[in-house]
């Protein structure tokens, strides 16, 4: 085992295929609270709340907000760092019952972009990923075999996956294995 394992799989090793790339946002937060806190947070972020199962918001901005539960959102900031964003949100949420937790480094982001992306995901994810059922712009917490993931559909064949960092190795190995049935000469 080389020390590339210190960051999970070590993207950029030969195991990491071209269609599966690490993407690293600037910050991630888990935001939890009641409707008014979530609405206040959305106002502060300048985007609509992702207020229904499977919903995402922030398209066209540098933020992505994903519904994880009735009172829980995952916020991904692509540019703003955790300190700045955290302070901004805490200010907006002052006096509101809420929980804002920095999880920037709890998980890693993987971009799965390939014609076979949905089929490959369905090797381990039981969701119906037909574009009519899980349209572009949807996001949800789900499973890929034995690991939790958050799945966000950026395009018909373009997905962003969030996975806890120590499960990345498993996820990437699994996908590389399964992809042999879709792209034998990766």
């Amino acid at each position: 085992m080389s020390d590339t394992a210190s960051s999970g799989i070590g993207m950029g090793t030969t195991l990491a295929p071209a269609w599966l790339q690490r993407v690293t946002p600037a910050a991630r937060f888990v935001l939890q609270g009641g409707p008014s806190a979530l609405a206040a947070a959305a106002r502060a972020l300048g985007i609509p709340d992702a207020d229904a199962p499977g919903r995402c918001s922030g398209e066209g901005t540098t933020l992505t907000l994903i519904w994880l539960g009735p009172d829980e959102r995952l916020l991904i900031a692509w540019l703003e760092d955790a300190a700045s964003l955290g302070a901004r949100l805490e200010a907006a949420l002052a006096g509101q019952a809420h929980s804002l937790v920095d999880v920037t480094q709890r998980q890693v982001g993987l971009r799965l972009a390939a014609a076979f992306a949905a089929d490959l995901l369905n090797c381990g994810c039981p969701l119906d990923l037909d574009p009519a059922r899980f349209p572009v712009g949807s996001g949800t917490r789900t499973l890929f075999n034995k690991t939790d993931i958050v799945l966000w559909r950026r395009g018909v064949d373009d997905f962003h996956i969030e996975v806890w960092r120590s499960f990345e190795d498993y996820l990437v190995r699994w996908m590389a294995e399964a992809a042999q049935d879709f792209a034998p000469q990766r």
């Binding site: 085992m1 080389s2 939890q32 009172d71 829980e72 999880v103 480094q105 709890r106 369905n122 498993y170």
Partner: protein, 1003 residues
């Protein structure tokens, strides 16, 4: 050309011959053959030996129901698949098949001797024999039976092939691609619905593939199949899955399909999965699973050369194989007549049709009698096959009639080399039954048909009893497909087909199933398990009344074919024998899988490195470079110890322990579970969840928390820090992280909805580096960018935010070693850098990496428990000396009521104590039992057991923790640990061996 292959016809590729071997002998076949058809083409009928009596067996069917022709197909030593039905094995060039259950050879099998003892081996013999003497079971009977039992042999090498798994969703799943299934798929797909169509055979078409006389929409049947497949294939919303068996029907229209991808290929491409397990969630399911022809029961009905009539027709029409030249057909229904016409037309001589029915002709189509006369086919009505003759292969049948007493009259013999049997078609209701649909008995067809559905499912065609005619099946399939599409929200329309049917097409006619069986020696009901009619009779004589009991007693229907060709005959014979109507005898359950599925298919990709996630910490690479030996803790790889050259674990751990006690050590504690509990209700939540009182914990301070289940037993523990009035940083055990969070969420969401509190796992947000030992502060102080970490500023059990060489840091002053200790938390990405900085600074101080083993020893010296090692789910806080942690003034917490039960305070509860062996060099075994009276003979009175035991380098002797009944009252007593080498005397002591006052912590 092979002996039985017709020069023209069939749907086989004739431009190239395929070579294959069976039992070492080479043969030739054609593309489109199954192993069974290729063997028949070469005149090979004897293909296996039966399970119990080793009787010679041939090929009886042409499909998945085959009970007898089971073979092993070998590609290499690792790729050897036993118990395959030769009727389903697709031929490829170089295929190597061997017969099973015979020694030394198929023709000369010593196992055949068992048949000599068959009178001694009646049904249920294993319940009656081998009982005495009792000791003989393990030494004699079981090894012997194991050698005799079983069929093919599983390969001993690891399976080198890949196996894939795939989830899929659709509006309409159609199972079976015969006429009904194809029509259903066409109808459903035209609505725009997503359709999956699967069929276990390599080609779609089902019965249409052996029908060259019917016409659909102006096309020959096979041409229509080609056109239908072409239409479906060009529809992007249709997925066609040939070679795919729907084997299981699970709740909510969740079906398991097994796709065989490479088994039919001579040279499977490297890397391609051998099989794919589909998990399909369908809004609507159309079952078009067809029907299975049943054999008839008469003496010698298992002889090679006895074959189902429909199977012979398939071999003739699909592979142009004529399985016999002189044919006798025995039937209880009209389907055999078409086979007779076709066999005769293809050049065979049909010597006679033996029809059980006294006068079958009135119900038969016009013109049949004339055709029979023209063809010179004699029909013996009200007749039966009384027995078969032949050595190894059928050479003659003895026919006759039964008089009123059931005795044979008018016997005569007819020579033949093929005896075709037509016991009527039975709808394949396996999947319907698996779906929990209710079966109903149909008197006319004398079989069970689908009744009320339990799922969003409908049956179409032959599988729901439409056994007579192509038009009915096609149109029924079309209606089902359209209805399924409509039910799934798509606008389905039922296509109409112009159908001209083969005038000889199989029709059921009357089915005198109950009277069909002819008793006598070797009249088999279940061919795979060698169950005879007389075995069923015996079971009934011995008092069995339900078919479920008869089945288990005789094992009929319990072989790998699940009784596809035996259950119906067994059921009718039992009903007749018991004098009851069939439905009141009961019906055995259909279970998944429909046909055997490989274990590898269920495992899929989950093997080797991706069997389970392997979790590594951000500092894993550092531990590797330090030469760590790892252990698995849950899914985590944790460094257990860091041996230097020449050191064993004992030496390494002793050195690591001394380093921590005397200088400083560094330890990767990242795997500890971490949960942020935040919100205005956080304190109330913590008060209700943990036994401790959190209200008085100051911000910036930590406390050891104890968690019980609601039964009052210790569930988890860990240090909790208060980061703000409304925010706690909770740590859990490594293994408990997920379950503690799940339990918290359970209470939060279902019990305590009054609290505004939220939970977030931060286990992986932080890399945790424990720096422990008397020199820990000296080491860290220069690294923390001016932060005051003196005893006054950062006392034991305190937390502070700061930076470590510019990296954001949460610094905990905590200790699981009993020494001055810190746990540096930095964001995970910076864990490796922070650790490097600490190690660099630690060089001058002799900083020593230590692993989980040393951590275990150090904490045991201090009497700190490990959840799951010193506790086992039956331990109260008091049992392990943690009563001090309980917030006595709190109105409630999880487990409080349970702790009030008298039994939780019984004085003889097992309590945590220390044990010191009289000989300090003796290290007790963990798990060893403890007794108080020495010299007892087993069974001894056991009063406790050792939970933790180590050689302590610090103390220069062994130490152990144990739970002992009434242990605290026994302190000072001598107890005994009985071991194979003798009893080990131990002295009971308090479970703290080192620095009991904690002087080393508070410095």
């Amino acid at each position: 050309m092979s002996v039985a292959r017709l020069p023209t016809g069939g749907q086989v590729g004739r431009d190239r011959t395929l070579r294959f071997s069976f039992d070492g002998k080479s043969y030739e076949g054609l593309q489109g053959d199954t192993l069974a058809s290729a063997l028949l083409a070469n005149g090979v009928h004897l293909v296996g030996r039966s399970f119990k009596y080793h009787r010679p067996r041939g090929i009886m069917t042409a499909g998945p129901e085959e009970p007898s022709a089971l073979v092993t197909v070998r590609r290499d030593a690792a790729r050897s698949t036993p118990n395959l039905r030769a009727t389903q094995v697709e031929l490829y060039d170089g295929l190597c098949a061997v017969s099973q259950n015979r020694w030394p050879s198929l023709r000369f099998d010593l196992g055949r001797l068992t048949e000599l003892f068959s009178p001694l081996l009646p049904a249920g013999f294993y319940y009656k024999t081998f009982m005495w003497p009792r000791t003989a079971w393990h030494q004699l009977y079981e090894p012997l039976i194991r050698r005799m039992a079983g069929l093919g042999e599983a390969p001993l090498l690891p399976d080198p092939d890949r196996y894939a798994q795939q989830h899929a969703h659709c509006e309409v799943l159609v199972v079976g691609a015969g006429p009904a299934g194809l029509a259903a798929a066409l109808a459903a797909s035209r609505s725009g619905a997503r359709v999956i169509l699967c069929d276990e055979r390599p080609r779609f078409g089902g019965s249409l593939l052996c029908d060259d006389r019917s016409r659909i929409d102006g096309l020959a049947a096979t041409e229509w199949v080609t056109a239908a497949i072409a239409e479906l294939a060009q529809n992007p919303r249709v997925r066609l899955l040939p070679r795919t068996t729907a084997f299981g029907y699970f709740p909510h229209n969740h079906l398991g399909l097994s796709e065989r991808i490479t088994d039919h290929l001579a040279e499977p491409p490297a890397g391609l999965a051998r099989e794919r397990l589909w998990q399909v969630r369908a809004q609507q399911v159309v079952l078009a699973t067809g029907s299975i022809e049943q054999p008839l029961v008469f003496p010698g009905n298992d002889r090679p050369g006895v074959m189902l009539a429909g199977a012979a027709l398939r071999y003739l029409k699909e592979q142009a194989v004529m399985p016999g030249r002189r044919v006798v057909i025995v039937t209880i229904c009209d389907s055999a007549y078409r086979v007779a016409f076709e066999m005769q037309a293809a050049g065979a001589r049909v010597a006679a049709i033996i029809d059980l029915r006294p006068d079958p002709s009135p119900a038969q189509p016009d013109g049949w009698q004339q055709r029979l006369r023209q063809a010179g086919i004699a029909v013996e009505t009200a007749a039966r096959v009384l027995r078969t003759r032949g050595r190894g292969h059928v050479s003659a049948v003895e026919i006759g009639r039964l008089d009123a007493a059931g005795l044979p009259t008018g016997q005569r013999s007819i020579d033949c080399d093929l005896l075709l049997v037509a016991g009527g078609f039975v709808p394949s209701v396996h999947l319907f039954s698996q779906s929990r649909g209710k079966l109903r008995y149909d008197e006319a067809l004398q079989t069970y048909l689908p009744g009320d559905s339990a799922e969003s499912e409908r049956s179409a065609g032959a599988c729901r009893g439409l056994l007579s005619g192509l038009a009915a099946a096609l149109q029924d399939g079309a209606a089902a497909g359209a209805a399924a599409a409509n039910a799934s929200g798509c606008a389905g329309e039922e296509p109409r087909f112009e159908i001209i049917e083969d005038s000889t097409a199989a029709t059921a006619g009357r089915l005198p199933r109950a009277e069909a069986a002819v008793s006598g020696p070797k009249a088999f009901v279940d061919f795979q398990h060698d169950v005879m009619l007389k075995d069923l009779d015996l079971a009934m004589r011995e008092g069995f009344r339900s078919i479920e009991h008869i089945k288990r007693y005789t094992t009929t229907g319990m072989a790998t074919d699940q009784g596809k060709t035996s259950n119906v005959n067994a059921l009718h014979h039992a009903a007749r024998g018991l004098g009851k109507p069939v439905p009141s005898v009961g019906l055995t359950t259909f279970r998944m899988p429909y046909t055997p599925i490989t274990f590898a298919s269920f495992a899929g990709q989950a093997r080797g490195e991706i069997f389970d996630p392997v979790r590594r910490t951000p500092m894993h690479g550092w531990a590797v470079r330090q030469g760590a030996v790892f252990e698995d803790v849950g899914m985590w790889k944790r460094a257990r110890f860091f041996p230097r050259s020449g050191e064993d674990m004992h030496a390494a751990v002793a050195r690591e322990c001394r380093a921590v006690r005397e200088g400083c050590g560094v330890f990767d504690a990242s795997t500890l579970g971490k949960i942020v509990v935040a919100g205005p209700g956080a304190t109330a939540f913590m008060d209700r969840f943990y036994v401790n009182d959190w209200s008085k914990l100051a911000v910036g301070r930590c406390k050891y928390g104890v968690l019980l289940r609601d039964d009052g037993f210790v569930y988890d523990d860990g240090v909790v820090a208060r980061l703000a009035e409304d925010r706690f940083h909770v740590t859990t055990t490594t293994g408990g992280a997920a379950r503690v969070l799940a339990m918290m969420e359970d209470y939060r969401q279902t019990e305590w909805t009054d609290l505004d509190v939220w939970l977030t796992s931060t286990t992986e947000q932080w890399a945790v580096i424990a720096v422990q030992g008397p020199r820990a502060r000296e080491l860290l102080a220069p690294l923390v960018d001016g932060l005051d970490i003196s005893a006054a500023a950062l006392p034991h059990m305190a937390v502070v935010h700061g930076t470590l060489r510019g990296m954001p840091m949460m610094l905990f002053r905590v200790s699981f070693t009993g020494e001055l200790g810190f746990e540096v938390n930095v964001p995970s990405d910076q864990g490796a850098a922070a650790l490097d900085a600490i190690c660099e600074a630690g060089k001058a101080l002799g900083l020593t990496p230590y692993g989980t083993e040393t951590m275990h020893v150090l904490r045991a010296e201090k009497g700190f428990i490990i959840i799951g090692q010193d506790t086992d789910g039956t331990v109260t806080p008091d049992d392990v000396g943690l009563t001090w942690a309980i917030g006595k003034a709190k109105p409630d917490f999880v487990g409080k009521r349970a702790l009030a039960r008298p039994a939780m305070h019984a004085p003889d509860r097992k309590q945590l104590v220390g044990l010191l062996t009289r000989d300090p060099r003796v290290v007790l075994e963990e798990g060893a039992q403890v007794v108080d009276v020495p010299g007892q003979a087993p069974p001894m009175k056991l009063i406790g057991h050792v939970t933790s035991s180590y050689a302590s380098a610090t103390l220069g002797r062994s130490i152990a923790l144990a739970v002992v009944a009434g242990g605290r009252a026994r302190i000072g007593q001598t107890l005994h640990v009985p071991m194979p080498g003798g009893e080990i005397p131990v002295e009971v002591c308090a479970p703290v061996f080192y620095d009991p006052k904690g002087a080393r912590l508070n410095v």
